[in-house]
């Protein structure tokens, strides 16, 4: 279960980012050159166990920030986030793979990052390779793989962890049709097993098909939430 209470995330948008001490000292004399940018503002959200929640919205509306907050990668500026259960984040392309390592090494590294022990990864290893369809590439360096293959690998590892909460951020679009079907089959079985999924996507058909509930974000605010059909209709009507 995930509960967000009055959560806001503010980023300082510098007009000229200061990276060094010198720039900082010079900067003291100058006027402040940043503005406060609220990526998320006063979000209240409750995701029940076993729910498949979709989050939609335009680019820059705060979808990924919301997932990163739930994954604890970012700290909220204000508000409180409570998460019960392990979270497996699957964020963006590449998901933090190391390009210079082989596929095999990346599986062990990423598995460990997601909290698995060596034996647990070993047990899942064959399944991961099989599901991602990368049998021939296990000893290839990751940087030589296509972006679609990388996403397949990332998804396979994340899914294999079997954590009760899964965060998925707009990545499936890169996989080919066959893999997308595999993923959607996966989602179906998750739903049956009562796992919680937060799903960010621009693929409105998928959102409509899988989600129990959809939240529409606009400029950092949750403007509606409800059953997929209603929210999607509203979202589509905004486009014109």
């Amino acid at each position: 279960m995930i509960i967000l209470e009055q959560v806001s995330k503010m980023f300082r948008l510098p007009h000229d980012k200061k990276w060094t001490l010198r720039q900082r000292f010079v900067g003291i004399l100058q006027k402040k050159t940043y503005e406060d940018f609220y990526a998320l503002r006063d979000i209240n959200l409750k995701v029940n166990q076993g729910e498949f929640l979709g989050i939609i919205g335009k680019n820059g509306s705060g979808k990924s920030t919301l997932l990163k907050l739930i994954a604890k990668v970012l700290e909220p500026t204000s508000g409180k986030i409570t998460v019960n259960g392990n979270v497996s984040p699957f964020l963006e392309l590449g998901i933090g793979f190391q390009g210079d390592l082989t596929v095999r090494d990346n599986i062990f590294l990423y598995g460990a990052l997601l909290g698995l022990s060596r034996d647990e990864i070993r047990n899942r290893y064959d399944w991961i390779i099989d599901f991602s369809g990368l049998e021939r590439f296990v000893d290839a360096k990751l940087k030589n793989l296509s972006s679609g293959m990388q996403v397949r690998l990332g998804f396979s590892i994340t899914v294999s962890v079997e954590s009760p909460i899964l965060l998925v951020d707009e990545v499936l679009a890169v996989g080919d049709i066959d893999f997308q079907h595999k993923c959607y089959d996966c989602f179906e079985s998750f739903k049956k097993n009562g796992r919680t999924i937060v799903f960010v996507s621009h693929d409105l058909n998928a959102v409509e098909k899988f989600c129990d509930r959809v939240v529409l974000l606009e400029e950092g605010k949750a403007i509606t939430e409800g059953c997929p059909l209603d929210v999607l209709t509203l979202y589509k009507s905004q486009e014109k």
Partner: protein
């Protein structure tokens, strides 16, 4: 989130993969970490035993030990910042306790310290020096050094994402410290009034202690007082580093 026993595995695997990446495409591979202090030793030994002569008993061992220990300090502190930077893509996407990166980077250096110490003991045996049982105190000094260095690394790493200059500044400090510590020269050539200043540096105390315990002569730094001074220094630096790291590492995902 993660179970505790898996932290250890995660630390190990980050250290191992970092190791693989670092020595990938290099023929001598890991030997470089062994070779670097030895080459430095060779150069300095040539200069300071042929051109300049100190009056130090067993100068070879004296110098080698100093270089190995200082090299460990410089490697852990500098590499921890580099590792933090190179793991930015992971830190931005998965949550795990950030101090794991610092510990992981210290492990590779710890391994090369141990290998270097083996090389040292080979020299030791061939120099005809005698090993005393009290030499085992070496491990106490090494443990103190490790805590000290880890504290420094934590402090540096917590500041690094916001102030990248720290890396360059620290590089200069390490260089400065190398010459301000009796590593290549005996402390006897330094005027007595500066001794206090030099031994403000706990690393200098540790290095002298290690020498006295293994090759002697002298026993100035074997006293309990010396240990207390070192441990106080190291422990407070470590606690300060930990507190600061804990506070500042929360925004690493934004700053890196």
């Amino acid at each position: 989130m993660l179970q505790r026993q898996n932290y250890i595995y995660l630390t190990l695997i980050i250290a191992i993969t970092d190791f693989k990446i670092k020595y990938d495409n290099s023929i001598l591979g890991y030997f470089w970490s062994l070779l670097k202090p030895l080459l430095m030793f060779g150069t300095l030994y040539l200069v300071f035993s042929v051109f300049v002569r100190w009056n130090v008993e067993n100068y070879r061992l004296y110098l080698l030990l100093g270089i190995i220990l200082w090299n460990f300090l410089s490697e852990v502190t500098l590499n921890s910042m580099v590792l933090l930077q190179s793991k930015a893509s992971i830190l931005k996407k998965v949550y795990f306790p950030r101090w794991i990166v610092v510990i992981a980077s210290s492990l590779t250096s710890l391994l090369s310290l141990l290998l270097n110490m083996i090389v040292f003991f080979i020299f030791f045996i061939f120099s005809g020096a005698h090993f005393k049982v009290s030499g085992l105190y070496l491990f106490v000094y090494l443990a103190e050094l490790y805590v000290l260095v880890l504290g420094l690394a934590l402090l540096l790493c917590s500041l690094f994402p916001k102030f990248r200059d720290i890396h360059h500044i620290w590089e200069v400090f390490v260089q400065l410290g190398f010459w301000a510590t009796p590593i290549i020269y005996p402390i006897s050539i330094v005027p007595a009034k500066y001794h206090k200043l030099i031994f403000l540096n706990p690393a200098a105390r540790i290095i002298q202690g290690c020498r006295e315990v293994l090759i002697g002569p002298g026993s100035e730094f074997l006293s309990l007082t010396n240990h207390i001074i070192i441990i106080t220094f190291a422990a407070s630096l470590f606690v300060a580093g930990l507190l600061m790291f804990n506070k500042l590492s929360r925004s690493f995902a934004e700053d890196l």
